[in-house]
Subunit: 308 residues, 2 copies
Amino acid sequence: MRVTALAGGTGAAKFLRGLTSCMNPRDLTVIGNTGDDTEIWGLHVSPDLDTLTYALTGRLDVARGWGLADDTFRALAAMGVLGGETWFRLGDRDLATHIYRSRALRAGVSLTGVTNAIGQALGLRIRLLPMSDDGVKTRIQTPDGWMSFQNYFVREKARARTIGIEYAGAEKAVPAPGVLDAIRTTNAVIVCPSNPITSIGPILSVPGIRAALMETNAIVLAISPIVGSAAVSGPAGELMSACGLPVSPVGVARTYTPWLDLLVIDRRDIKQTHAVLELGAEPVVTDTVMTDHASETALARLVLETLA
Amino acid sequence: MRVTALAGGTGAAKFLRGLTSCMNPRDLTVIGNTGDDTEIWGLHVSPDLDTLTYALTGRLDVARGWGLADDTFRALAAMGVLGGETWFRLGDRDLATHIYRSRALRAGVSLTGVTNAIGQALGLRIRLLPMSDDGVKTRIQTPDGWMSFQNYFVREKARARTIGIEYAGAEKAVPAPGVLDAIRTTNAVIVCPSNPITSIGPILSVPGIRAALMETNAIVLAISPIVGSAAVSGPAGELMSACGLPVSPVGVARTYTPWLDLLVIDRRDIKQTHAVLELGAEPVVTDTVMTDHASETALARLVLETLA
């Protein structure tokens, strides 16, 4: 079975790590969010693509959920002495990735091309595609004005009240080569347990991707990143509220219908099965919180069995 | 007494470290060679400016003669995994300097401006000027063709036979702001014990700098980097030969006359005093090889006494 996944960072990385231990990685295409991409120190940083690449090659710092395991921060400290910004913590070995990517992009290589090159070099066995080679920037509106996602999430620690969200540049963006085909010609599409607004939302904002999800014959399954009335991690709850969505699996279902077939929700949300069903998605109830490799694999196995 | 020095990397750094312990650093302007500047990983690297800045702020790795003391090379190792070039060893903390410089240059800051900003941030007390804000590239002609200085010196370890040297771009380069004034309005100009061909040569190749040296009322003193018939360090001998110069203090004198007043030579070369004098420079004989802080300071003190 060929699978195409839409993915953000941490939550997606956990689920996909489980998935790749249950299926042939060669049959998996992952479309990664680049709405969080940012420029730090003049370098192009792709946080979600890197988290996925690092996680799926066994390099991720699992405790932090970002960056490389056992990395050091000596360049960061030196940059601080020079007066450069230090709120975005780039590790020394991680830095090589951003420098490599930035040089390739300046030389005219596409983000698709450089993502592939990095994946190849690091031994990534799945196919990882950025959602687009064009810049789409997730921006958060707060009472003090608009800010980039990384400014909101990392620098301001997601403390600012959110009153709006936009995906700047999306209207002119084109899906990266292979993205639409990966949705149209696969057996199943899995929307990973990622933030619906800032991880999956930017992917859906690229013209053509929603239509491909509507048209595909593949079964489309999402895993709710919301358990109870809160996100398992990150600011998804606050951002869903700002978009007028209930912070619940029902809110997730509302974001993904009408193209969603199945929604995996946690046992704790069993009372929401009826409401999910009314929105046109079939609920699948299981344990969704991934705390270790065993729970990642168990969730992935259940998903594959459901899709089979 | 105000002093202006023309400087390359390691040898100059040693001498200037001695000089700054014998005079007020505020009265010292150093014009640094940028003919060795290169792009590594898409970053602008200025080896001589950095060696001088690091040395004069107590940060230089003294044993190696380049880079920062106690630096690590984790980004370099990671870049190797990605397939990037690793022959030019950029340390993790050193990398911050190159990233900082590259971003500033791309943002339109001049090399003079960014060199000053780095010096300020690191506590550099002298005034350090690049010879030019324009690109001048020292290139070495070998039997296999032309190569950049860093390719010749670092990647090929100066093993290739040299048949020619050029300073590409020099004809269109302009001295950096302050350079000509620093030569014209100072009390003394010191040509540091640097490679005459690849450290001082590029500085002299910038239109206007030789003329300023000819016209200045300042006394002009050079310290020979050649002792006996060999360079104290580096490929100066090979390069002088390739330029048809004797590898000796006389060869150094020939490079710097007619604007040179005094040439400091080593006691071992005492027999060359007459030949130096015939070229129009007055020889000053002393111990010139700097092996520790005491010998750096002793040479600097003798130079200042000679100039006083």
